[in-house]
C-alpha cells in the first residue's frame, strides 16, 4: 500500500468508508508528520492533537454505525490562523493576539466541523495576512518544502506548506491580493480564490473588506472542489455573502474542455520570464489538444492593478485594525509588527481629510475600469489563463527590506481581487526543481467551470505526484 500521507482526499475517503483504515490511525499519522516536519518548515503555529483525535473517534463511530458521511469526514485539515476557532488559540500571526482564544467558530470552520473534518492545526501566516512571502509572521517565517532557503509565498504560507508537506490533506486560507494563489504556485498545490461573496467570512479576522475572499488548498483539483462544496453557504452574518448560484462543484468535473474558449491576456506575458512563459503556454497547448480554442485578448488596465490595490487595501486595513486597542481582547497597538504599522500609516493617510478623493476614490474608479476589462473579455472567452507570479520562489530575506518590491510580487494576482472574479491556481511544472503555477480565471460564479478546466489539465500532467524531499 502507498504511504497514507501521499494520498488525495478522494483516495483517503475511499479507504475510510471501506473500513481499510480508521480515522484515528489516519489522524495520528498526520499529527506525527505535522510535529515531525514543523521544526524545519514552521508551517503550524498551533497543532491541535486533542481536538483532531476526538473528532476522528467520532468519525470512526459513525462509520461503524453505517452512517452516510461527507467526503471530508475524518480528513485532516489545517486552518490559517486568521480563522476563529472556539477554544483554540487564534493569533493572526501577530503578537497582538498571541494569547487570544476565540469563543466562537468562523462559519467556514463550522461547516468543516459539520462535515466531520479533523482540524489538525492552525497554520502560520504573514501577520494579519499582510505579505507575499510568509516572512512577516511574528512567529518566524515558514519555509518552502521544495527548497528550505526559499519562501513558500504568502500570506497563507503555512496552509500551502502543510498540504505540500503531507501534514494535512486540505487547508483553509484567505486571498485578498493573491494570498492563496501565490503560495499555491510556490508550493506545487492547488488553491482557489472563489468569487467575492461566495464563502462567508464571518469569524475570519478582516484584512481589506472589499477584497477578502475565503478559499483553500488541496493536492488535486477534485479535492479542491470537494472542500468548496462544504464551505459555501450563506449564514446571515456576512452581508456580502451571496446565496444564489451555488453549485455542486465536484460533480461533472470530467466534462472536459471541448470547444472551450481560452483567452491569453497579452499584458501578463509581455516581459515575463521566458521559462515561466514557456511552462504556461505548454499547459495551454495541452488544453488545446484536448479540444479547447485559444484566443489572444487584452486586459489593458492590468498595469494599474498593484497601484490601485495598494491604495484600497491599506485604507481598509487601517480601518479594520483600528479595533485592536487591547481593551476587549489582545494586546495594545505598539505590539503590531512593522508591516502592519506601515499599512496602518499608509491607509490612515490615504483616507485622511483632503486626500480621500485623490487616493481611495480615484482607486475605486480605476477598479471599475479593471473590472470592466474582465467583463468585456468574458464576452469573448470562457476562461483566461495567465501566470500567478512573475518569479519562482525567491530567497528568504531577498525582498524584506524593500516593501515596494515585495508588493510587486502580487502584480498578476491582485487584478482578480479587484475585479471580484474567481481564480484557480494550479501547478504547471517545475523550473530548476522549483514549482511554478498558473491561474485559470473565470467570470463571477464560474468556479465549477474552473474546476473542469483545471481537472482536464491535471489529468494530463499530475504534477502533484512530485513530492518535496524534506
Amino acid at each position: 500500500m502507498k504511504n497514507i500521507l501521499d494520498l488525495t482526499i478522494r483516495e483517503t475517503s475511499d479507504l475510510l468508508f471501506s473500513k481499510q483504515i480508521k480515522a484515528q490511525e489516519l489522524t495520528q499519522a498526520f499529527l506525527e508528520r505535522a510535529h515531525g516536519v514543523n521544526k524545519k518548515l514552521n508551517s503550524f503555529i498551533t497543532i491541535c492533537g486533542g481536538t483532531a483525535l476526538k473528532q476522528a473517534k467520532k468519525v470512526d463511530e459513525l462509520i461503524a454505525n453505517g452512517q452516510k458521511l461527507n467526503s471530508l469526514a475524518g480528513i485532516p485539515v489545517g486552518i490559517k490562523d486568521v480563522f476563529s476557532t472556539k477554544d483554540i488559540k487564534t493569533t493572526a500571526g501577530s503578537k497582538v493576539l498571541e494569547n487570544y482564544i476565540p469563543v466562537y467558530d468562523a462559519t467556514s470552520v463550522n461547516h468543516l466541523f459539520n462535515a466531520n473534518a479533523c482540524i489538525v492545526g492552525k497554520t502560520n501566516l504573514d501577520a494579519w495576512a499582510h505579505g507575499s512571502s510568509g516572512e512577516n509572521s511574528d512567529f518566524g517565517p515558514t519555509k518552502n518544502p521544495y527548497d528550505l532557503s526559499r519562501v513558500p509565498g504568502g500570506s497563507s504560507s503555512g496552509s500551502a506548506v502543510s498540504v505540500a508537506s503531507g501534514s494535512c490533506l486540505a487547508a483553509m486560507g484567505t486571498d485578498t491580493g493573491g494570498s492563496i494563489r501565490l503560495p499555491a504556485s510556490f508550493c506545487n498545490v492547488v488553491g482557489i480564490k472563489p468569487t467575492f461573496g461566495r464563502v462567508s467570512r464571518y469569524g475570519v479576522i478582516a484584512m481589506a473588506s472589499s477584497l477578502d475572499c475565503i478559499g483553500h488548498f488541496t493536492k488535486t483539483v477534485y479535492d479542491n472542489a470537494l472542500v468548496l462544496d462544504v464551505t459555501i453557504g450563506e449564514d446571515g452574518f456576512d452581508s456580502t455573502c451571496i446565496a444564489q448560484k451555488q453549485d455542486v462543484y465536484s460533480s461533472d468535473i470530467e466534462k472536459g474542455v471541448k470547444n472551450l474558449k481560452i483567452g491569453i491576456p497579452k499584458e501578463y506575458f509581455e516581459n515575463l520570464d521566458q521559462r515561466i512563459k514557456r511552462l504556461i503556454l505548454e499547459a495551454v497547448k495541452k488544453l488545446e489538444k484536448l479540444g479547447a480554442q485559444v484566443e489572444d485578448i487584452s486586459l489593458p488596465n492590468t498595469e494599474y492593478g498593484v497601484a490601485t490595490y495598494y491604495i484600497i487595501q491599506p485604507s481598509e486595513v487601517s480601518s479594520n485594525l483600528a479595533r485592536y486597542d487591547g481593551i476587549r481582547f489582545g494586546k495594545t497597538r505598539e505590539k503590531f509588527g512593522s508591516e502592519a504599522k506601515r499599512r496602518i500609516i499608509l491607509g490612515t493617510y490615504t483616507l485622511s481629510s483632503g486626500y480621500y478623493d485623490a487616493y481611495y476614490l480615484k482607486a475605486m474608479k480605476v477598479r471599475r475600469l479593471i473590472r470592466n476589462d474582465f467583463v468585456k473579455a468574458f464576452k469573448k472567452v470562457d476562461v483566461i489563463i495567465c501566470p500567478v507570479s512573475p518569479t519562482t520562489p525567491f530567497k528568504l530575506g531577498e525582498k524584506t527590506s524593500d516593501p515596494l518590491q515585495m508588493y510587486l510580487a502580487d502584480i498578476f494576482t491582485v487584478t482578480a481581487n479587484l475585479a471580484g472574479v474567481p481564480s484557480l491556481a494550479l501547478p504547471c511544472g517545475f523550473m530548476n526543481y522549483l514549482p511554478c503555477g498558473m491561474q485559470i480565471i473565470g467570470p463571477d460564479f464560474s468556479e465549477k467551470l474552473l474546476y473542469q478546466v483545471g481537472h482536464a489539465y491535471e489529468q494530463e500532467t499530475k504534477w502533484y505526484r512530485v513530492k518535496p524531499k524534506i
Binding site: 456580502t240 498593484v306 497601484a307 481582547f329 504599522k341 500609516i345 493617510y349 524593500d402 515596494l404
Partner: protein, 100 residues
C-alpha cells in the same frame, strides 16, 4: 480635491490619527519607504477617470438587511473572557477625561 504634488507622509501627524505609537527609527524608515510607494501609486494619475463611476460594492449588492430581532448571542462571561481588566462584569477602560 487636493492633488499631492510631492507625495510625502507627515508620519507624526498620521500616527496620532491612527493612535499608533511609533519609535523615531520607525518614523524615519516608514517615511522613506512609503514615499517610494506613493510615488509608485501616483501612476494612477495617468488615467482619466472623470466619467467613471467608482465601484461601491463589487457584487452590486444593495440594502442587505435582516429583521431587527434579538437572537441568542455570546454570554457576558464569554464576551469578557479575553480581556485583562474587568469591573463588576464590565470591561474596564482608562478614563478619557482626567480631573484637573
Amino acid at each position: 480635491m487636493k492633488k499631492p504634488q510631492r507625495p510625502e507622509i507627515d508620519v507624526d501627524y498620521v500616527s496620532k490619527l491612527a493612535n499608533l505609537p511609533l519609535s523615531d527609527k520607525e518614523k524615519a524608515l516608514f517615511k522613506k519607504q512609503l514615499k517610494d510607494v506613493l510615488t509608485y501609486i501616483a501612476k494612477l494619475n495617468e488615467i482619466n477617470t472623470n466619467k467613471v463611476e467608482p465601484i461601491a460594492h463589487i457584487a452590486d449588492l444593495v440594502n442587505i438587511t435582516r429583521g431587527d430581532e434579538t437572537s441568542p448571542s455570546l454570554s457576558q462571561d464569554d464576551a469578557l473572557k479575553n480581556t485583562s481588566k474587568t469591573y463588576n462584569g464590565f470591561f474596564e477602560v482608562d478614563a478619557i477625561f482626567e480631573e484637573q
